[in-house]
Amino acid sequence: MTAVADPTAGATQRKPAPPDHKPRRNLTPWILLLPGLLWLTVFFLLPILTSVSASVQTGNYDDGFKLTWHWANYGHAISDYGTQYWHSGLYSTLTTVLCLALGYPVAYFIAFKGGKWKSLLMALVIVPSFTSFLIRTIAWETILADQGPVVHVLRSAHVLGLTEALGWTTGGHVINTPAAVVCGMVYNFLPFTILPLYTSLEKIDPRLLEAGSDLYCSTFTTWRRITLPLSMPGVVGGTLLTFIPAIGDYINAQLLGNPNTGVVGQKIEDLFLRQTSGYPVGSAISVVMMVGTLVLVMSYIRKAGTEDLL
């Protein structure tokens, strides 16, 4: 590079052309990252990896477990719990679809018609979450009680007859049926659908909708051709934030269901906490579930084309 002659060389110390400044190797980010990442590695990644190993062990809690490459655990994990996998998949899929169907109009209304009430309405979506979700879930015991007004209306409208024929309710009850389980799940996860939907709808310039109607779109076509495509990030985010916790949830199945609404989560808890030799099979189910969820989520993200969710 240049060593330009300094006109006032007498006054300043003349030094050779400074070498190109090298970008300094910076340790700061690693110091900042280390504690948190270490925590996640030790208390999240390591246990998951350990359970992969545990899933091919045999033994019981009294004698200890040995790594015997007992792949049959996976056979049990998959074949013995088919009903539970089916229930988990069915309930969580149904919950996700219903949450989108109910959450979209609410998010749309708040974003476009909320006006000065926007933040109050969003607070109303979040505020219930400040009461423990278990108490709120159990409140459905009261709402859906056999003598309660909800069941009374459903019964006299002959809705219960229909749901009973489809196997969602039994014996004139709503509580302790698959319908109650899905109702509880939709109730619990709806705010998680509304939040990302609202965020992406709120970003849409309302003038785009006016432009749509100016260019010969009906209200529905405007929604279909303009609003929906622009709100896709919210739909994708909402789907994931609902489906991921829903697939592992067993609170609703336990509190609002019956012995015939068993889901995978209950079985894992049961195998880990209550059966002396359940640890390997429980681990195997965990691995199956984890891998299954990840594959589903990843392929969904890829298909939806939004990989910068985090």
């Binding site: 590079m1 240049t2 330009v4 300043t12 052309a17 190109d20």
Partner: protein, 383 residues
């Protein structure tokens, strides 16, 4: 004479850049720049976006490390001095007022960091200078764009820096406010007598305010001089096109005689003064500003000794104070003419006309350059 005050400011210090270079990977943003900015001057770095003017500014402020080269303030080298130790302050493009602090605290920020105990008199004085004393308790987001701009200026000026850097300071303002602020800035600079280095892509803004303008292109300084000098005697086609408009006519030098250069172009002998010609042999480009060109119904009306070309009017725009013509020559080239509204008859498109100008008003450029340089960039920069 040079003596340091408390802050390390040096009396009698020019800002000097020596061989300053900045590369981002393979891209050279600033290329071996040598520049001296005298103390107390209002200096403008003018160029299109991406020409390296902002990078230069950031290296002076210390927010960017140069790849090579040195920066001097007076006799002291500050190349490796941290930004918070340099007696240099910046007015940022988007003002960068701290949203969590009120106006008073924004202006007091620099003084407080330097450990001043009582800041009230200075801050109040500075707020008076920018005529916003009544807004001291407001938060930045409660101010209009023009007010924010003045606060940003006050926040930098209060530190009495050796050099004040202004990074497109008026870019976010509307036209009327921009004009007003241009005058305001010039007034303040005269009042405080500090060195102002002003980065802009707006040639009019640079010409209104600056004593000296450096036109930058591709990391280098294309030309440096007073606004009048740059306008009347551009040294390259880039400057001729970027700073205002120019009619550029390629030709070949026929001879030089007694301070007059004769150029053959469009089958005619055109002349210009030798001291305004950058090249006096071979291929040259003869340039003349549109407002220096006059228009006549026929060649007979052209006074003798004037350069003259003939063509057809293809476009006439009447804009009140003047009329702009576009005249197509036989070769297909177009000459633009700005005629003051002095009541002369307006030439309609289709009219055969003669265009002519005083030879002393023309300038000559080296003919080997790209004749379009700077013309397209200007539009991008202004966008």
């Amino acid at each position: 004479m040079s003596s340091n005050d408390v802050l390390g400011r040096i009396e009698g210090g020019d800002l000097r850049l020596v061989g300053l270079t900045k590369r981002f990977g393979a891209f050279t943003a600033v290329d071996n720049l040598d520049l001296t900015i005298p103390q107390g001057s209002f200096f403008a770095l003018l160029g299109a976006s991406g020409c390296g003017k902002t990078t230069t500014l950031r290296m002076v402020s210390g927010l960017e490390d140069p790849t090579a080269g040195q920066i001097f303030l007076g006799d002291a080298e500050v190349t490796d001095t941290k930004p918070y130790r340099r007696p240099v302050n910046t007015v940022f493009q988007n003002y960068a007022l701290f949203p969590h602090l009120d106006i008073f605290e924004n202006v007091a920020f620099g003084l407080r960091r330097r450990g001043f105990k009582s800041v009230r008199p200075q801050v109040e004085e500075m707020l008076e200078l920018v005529e916003l004393g009544h807004l001291a308790k407001r938060k930045p987001n409660q101010l209009s764009g023009g007010q924010q701009q003045r606060i940003a200026l006050a926040r930098a000026l209060i530190n009495q820096p050796q050099v004040l850097l202004l990074d497109e300071p008026l870019g976010a303002l509307d036209l009327k406010l921009r004009r007003q602020m241009q005058i305001e800035l010039k007034r303040i600079q005269t009042e405080v007598g500090l060195t102002f280095v002003h980065v802009t892509h707006d040639q009019e803004e640079a010409m209104t305010m600056a004593d000296t303008i450096a036109v930058m292109n591709q990391g280098r300084i294309e030309q440096l001089g007073s606004p009048a000098e740059l306008y009347e005697n551009p040294s390259t086609t880039f400057v001729a096109n970027f700073l205002g408009q120019s009619n550029l006519i390629p030709g070949v030098v026929e001879g030089v005689d007694g301070g007059v250069v004769t150029v053959r172009a469009h089958g005619r002998a055109l002349t210009l003064k030798a001291d305004r010609a950058r090249a006096t042999s071979g291929a040259v480009i003869l340039g003349v500003r549109p407002e220096k060109v006059q228009i006549a119904g026929s060649e007979d009306e052209v006074p003798s000794g004037f350069n003259c070309l003939t063509g057809t009017v293809v476009d006439t725009s009447f804009i009140g104070v003047s009329t702009q013509y576009l005249v197509k020559l036989a070769s297909g080239e177009e000459i633009s003419v700005f005629e003051q509204n002095t009541g002369r008859a307006i030439q309609r498109p289709g009219n055969e006309v003669a265009v002519y100008w005083d030879p002393s008003q023309g300038f000559g450029l080296d003919g080997t350059q790209d004749i379009e340089a700077g013309a397209v960039l200007d539009e991008e920069g202004a966008a």
